[in-house]
């Protein structure tokens, strides 16, 4: 993403103020973010993969916890 597009998305869509030069410096960081996103896009998700099973806090999970 070039800095002009970053600036436009930030201002018009995210309502995120960026100082002069910040859009350009974000371009590199966004490349790093894209790599992370690529790593999660390659995983096949079954319909049952529930986003709101928070780690270790649900009673349902506790019942299936391996015996210790």
């Amino acid at each position: 993403m070039d800095s002009a597009l970053i600036q436009t998305v930030a201002r018009e869509f995210l309502r995120l103020p960026l100082a002069d030069g910040e859009a350009a410096s974000l371009a590199e960081a966004l490349v790093g973010l894209q790599q992370l996103i690529q790593a999660i896009e390659t995983v096949q998700l079954p319909y049952s993969a529930d986003p709101f099973i928070t780690p270790r806090s649900s009673d349902e999970w506790l019942e299936t916890c391996p015996e210790q």
């Binding site: 960081a29 966004l30 973010l33 992370l36 790593a39 999660i40 998700l45 993969a49 780690p55 506790l62």
Partner: protein, 471 residues
């Protein structure tokens, strides 16, 4: 025992020994606090671990401990010992700055639950410890407080974000400390500074009174110079707290009894594969191999295992963490972004570009990661990795997602499913910098990882070394 004590030896005692000396009145809490305050005054300018020293409050607490002990009441193995806490954890009457200009110096009206529990056990709080701004980085460099320094070589970073907690413990400025761990922020600085660091299962330790970085990833952890010290601290702070909506109601067992039992016959999975090997520093690889061999000679059955979703878990953990962190700072990043340090500002701005679909995908990957790791932990009792695949670097003031990726590569994948994990000292690099061994366990089975860590510690010399500047 009365009068000033002439050596710094009590600063290096383990928690149980220190407390027992106080119970027997061979050492008073007041003497211990004065000794520690003198050490902080002498050494903190070199390592920058403490950002707030609560000298008068600590003296008052020590006096109360001595009065109580004189009346024959000993509360247990934390009574009279000196501790300190990361500056994102509230201590009544002290500012919680989070290492950030965005928060000012507002005074906490009451203790965080974890601090209140330590106080109830008789521990003395010496002060607040350096954190990477808002617990958002790994170098413990702060525009507000400068940089915390690794006591083994002050040119190097101590790791982070709980850098001050690891430094204070390693340098003998406190007998132990609390930190927080979202993706490795207790385990990694513990490894870099040569101390033990424990993160319990998600939900075990209340985060009430602790600044939030990530609602679904944050854990409070404990650091000590001995595995048994981290266990004692954990035992005291763990347990349900209605003030934290994610707090587990599961009963906390006695994890101290049986800590010294034989570990023969336990099964350990050694994580292998490209994710764990491609970025591994060769020196760390050698240390790790020797640590695994040591466990083998103690009767632990080791076998190579793979974690196919490690890369995806790392990425999902980063996306979840920074997206949630950006949400916590939603208003500030829009109204006064200039108050953030440059690295955190950029991290939060970057996170704004994560879509809801991508965030939800990361959360759904957590479900799969839990399934895979729970399957692995039916085959073995614990998993082993180096605590970090990289050695600490010289401080250069830059935290980027790439640097996070290197240092937290082995810790974050196990934070995503909230598994308990411990880092123990396992050796040193040629440059004299510490290296850690990470032991990961089943959910709510902190006892087994502490058991393995304690046994390894007794079979190795690393925990007995102290940084030269600290003596």
């Amino acid at each position: 025992m009365s009068g000033a004590i002439s050596t710094s030896e009590p600063a290096w005692l383990d928690l149980t020994t220190a407390s027992e000396l106080i119970a027997r009145r061979e050492l008073t809490a007041t003497q211990l606090v004065e000794l520690m305050l003198a050490r902080i005054e002498r050494l903190n300018p070199q390592v920058n671990a403490f950002v707030t020293v609560l000298a008068e409050a600590a003296r008052a607490q020590a006096s109360a401990v001595d009065t109580e002990i004189a009346r024959g009441r000993w509360r247990g193995p934390l009574h009279g010992v000196t501790l300190a806490v990361k500056d994102i954890i509230d201590v009544a009457g002290a500012p919680t700055t989070g290492g950030s200009r965005t928060l000012g110096r507002s005074i906490a009206p009451r203790d965080a639950t974890c601090v209140a529990r330590l106080r109830a056990a008789g521990a003395i709080i010496l002060g607040k410890l350096h954190t990477h701004e808002l617990a958002g980085g790994v170098t413990s460099e702060s525009e507000l407080y400068g940089r915390a320094r690794n006591p083994w070589n002050t040119d190097y970073i101590p790791g982070g974000s709980s850098g001050g907690s690891a430094v204070a413990t390693a340098a003998g400025l406190a007998h132990g400390a609390l930190g927080t761990d979202t993706g490795g922020s207790v385990r990694m600085p513990a490894a870099f500074c040569g101390v033990a660091g424990l993160k319990g299962t998600f939900g075990r330790v209340s985060r009430s009174g602790v600044l939030t970085r990530s609602w679904t990833m944050d854990h409070v952890g404990s650091l000590g110079r001995r595995v048994c010290d981290t266990a004692l601290l954990f035992q005291e702070v763990a347990g349900h707290d209605p003030r934290d909506s994610y707090s587990s109601r599961r009963k906390v067992p006695n994890i101290i009894d049986g800590l010294s039992e034989n570990i023969r016959g336990l099964r350990a999975g050694v994580l292998t594969g490209a994710f764990f090997e491609s970025e591994l520093d060769p020196q760390i690889g050698e240390v790790f191999e020797r640590a695994v061999q040591t466990l083998g000679t103690m009767g632990v059955k080791t076998k190579a295992v793979t974690f196919d979703l490690a890369d995806a878990s790392y990425a999902a953990g980063t996306i979840i963490t920074i997206a949630e962190a950006a949400s916590t700072q939603d208003e500030v990043i829009r109204t006064r972004p200039e108050e953030f340090g440059a690295d955190i500002r950029k991290q939060l701005q970057t996170a704004e570009f994560i879509s809801a679909r991508q965030y939800l995908r990361a959360l759904r990957i957590r479900f799969l990661v839990q399934q895979e790791l729970e399957g692995l932990l039916r085959e073995v009792d614990v998993l082993l990795t180096p605590s970090s695949p990289a050695l600490p670097t010289r401080s250069d003031g830059k935290t980027t997602l790439e640097r996070l990726a290197r240092f937290a590569r082995n810790t974050r994948p196990f934070s995503v499913p909230g598994l308990p994990a411990l880092s123990v000292p396992a050796g040193f690099s040629a440059e004299g910098l510490p290296i850690g061994l990470q032991i990961i366990g089943r959910p709510f089975d902190e006892k087994t990882i502490l058991h393995v860590g304690h046994a390894y510690e007794r079979a190795s010399p690393w925990h007995t070394r102290t940084p030269p500047l600290a003596n």
